[in-house]
């Protein structure tokens, strides 16, 4: 269903905290602004039961926070379209975005904020049993394992945070981590160690998820001793890290080995008018607050960029408008 190209001054790709903050700032700069979101606004925080480290909010549900950000940006005029951006190209100093549905958009500046996705274990049984006991979202699935023994894999903030949520339902949790200490922030470590349902299984990796129609256990290996054993569990919650959603940009932009985009302190990539903000950029702190800060920075710079390259605001958006 290819339609005519839709033109905006600023287009934002990805509706997590970075993109939503960028949308707020872009719309308040009175730029015509479109957010293109693949699934639904929120990104990773929408999976989180409680955000406790966004300044000003002692404890807010992740989805509620995302929804508030989205509504705030739309209140100032940001539009939202649902689609999966598959390619970005430069044409006459503008950016052309194409989605997998065949829609085309043109913008003077683009802010990429497509975030990161969870890393899978990449072991036998995992894919087959996803949705049948293998989970990447505690708030989605924990309640289905009430009074059961489950495993949580990972040693960072997400593993502890989500593990503590799972502990509301499960009778016992094996906390499986490949190292002998956690990476999680001190406050989450304190809470995890104080949770009597959690049993830490150190220096251990999951080698296989076991089960026919549903998860019945995991085969694990101690990386120090080499010993292999089986833990009987009804579910495996996996939180072993994040990988940036930048596959659609490969070959377009310079990235590090992990697929993070290089930007300067203004969130500018090496392509003029193309910005990257939040978890997809190099050296991101991977926090809601830092992602939002990135988005604001990118939008402010994009506003200036448009003024510098396309003339004084308000710019005319008519097709064939004279470029400077």
């Amino acid at each position: 269903m290819t339609e005519a190209r839709k033109e905006y001054e600023i287009i934002i790709v990805g509706g997590g905290p970075a993109g939503l903050a960028a949308g707020l700032y872009a719309a308040r700069a009175r730029r015509t602004t479109l957010l293109i979101e693949r699934k639904g606004a929120g990104g990773q925080i929408a999976l989180t039961a409680a955000v406790e480290n966004y300044p000003g909010f002692d404890n807010i549900n992740g989805f509620d926070l995302a929804q508030a950000m989205h509504q705030q940006a739309e209140k100032y005029g940001m539009e939202t379209a649902y689609g999966d951006v598959s390619a970005i190209a430069q044409e006459d100093g503008r950016h052309v975005l194409r989605t997998t549905d065949g829609d085309e958009y043109v913008a003077k500046a683009v802010i990429l904020s497509s975030g990161a996705d969870y890393v899978r274990l990449d072991v036998p049984g995992e894919e087959r049993l996803t949705g049948y006991g293998v989970s990447y979202c505690a708030t989605c699935d924990a309640a289905f394992f009430k009074d059961q023994v489950v495993a949580v894999v990972g040693g960072g903030d997400a593993a502890m945070d989500e593990g503590l949520f799972v502990a509301r339902y499960a009778s016992k949790l094996y906390m499986i981590h490949r190292r002998d200490q956690l990476r999680a922030s001190a406050i989450l470590q304190e809470r995890a160690f104080a949770q009597p349902k959690m049993e830490f299984v150190w220096n251990t990796v999951v080698e296989e998820v076991l089960g026919g129609d549903a998860v019945t256990g995991v085969r694990v290996r101690n990386v120090v001793t080499g010993e292999v054993s089986t833990l009987d569990v009804g579910a495996v919650f996996v939180f072993i890290g994040l990988t940036p959603n930048t596959a659609y940009l490969r070959g377009t932009l310079r990235m590090d080995e992990g697929g993070h985009i290089y930007v300067n302190e203004w969130m500018e990539t090496e392509v003029p008018g193309l910005f990257a903000a939040g978890d997809i950029r190099v050296n991101s702190a991977r926090q809601v607050v830092s992602a939002a800060g990135d988005g604001a920075t990118a939008a402010i710079r994009a506003d200036h960029y448009i003024t510098d390259h396309f003339g004084k605001h308000p710019a005319t958006v008519s097709a064939g408008a004279e470029r400077l």
Partner: protein, 111 residues
């Protein structure tokens, strides 16, 4: 334009299993962020497939019996029923284009 309405353990048989048209059931719960994210997408689909498919939602917190019967262990899960039988399943939050493709496949008479 029919907005997806809530079904329960009590009326699942009448509303879903005995329905004349195919039925898409959105299994969800209030604390599940992705479920709340998928809701507006399902709502859009319910408009696009109006008359062809009936759209309902089931709260898995309040209706454990039905969720257990169909082996739901992850939400959001979308189940499509035809003549009382589940014929298609989508687990997790997928983009709208994926949902449409899947729904079209399931709706083909010979599938």
């Amino acid at each position: 334009m029919a907005k997806p309405y809530e079904v329960t353990d009590a009326n699942f048989e009448n509303e879903v299993l005995k329905a004349a048209t195919p039925v898409l059931v959105d299994f969800w719960a209030p604390w599940c962020g992705p479920c709340r994210m998928v809701a507006p997408v399902v709502e859009e689909l319910s408009t696009e497939y109006d008359g062809k498919v009936k759209f309902v939602k089931l709260n898995t917190d309040d209706n454990i019996q039905t969720a257990t019967k169909y082996g739901i262990r992850s939400i959001p899960t979308l189940l499509v029923f035809k003549s009382g039988e589940p014929v298609g399943q989508i687990i997790g939050f997928r983009p709208k284009s994926d949902l449409k493709k899947r729904l079209d496949t399931v709706l083909q008479p010979s599938s």
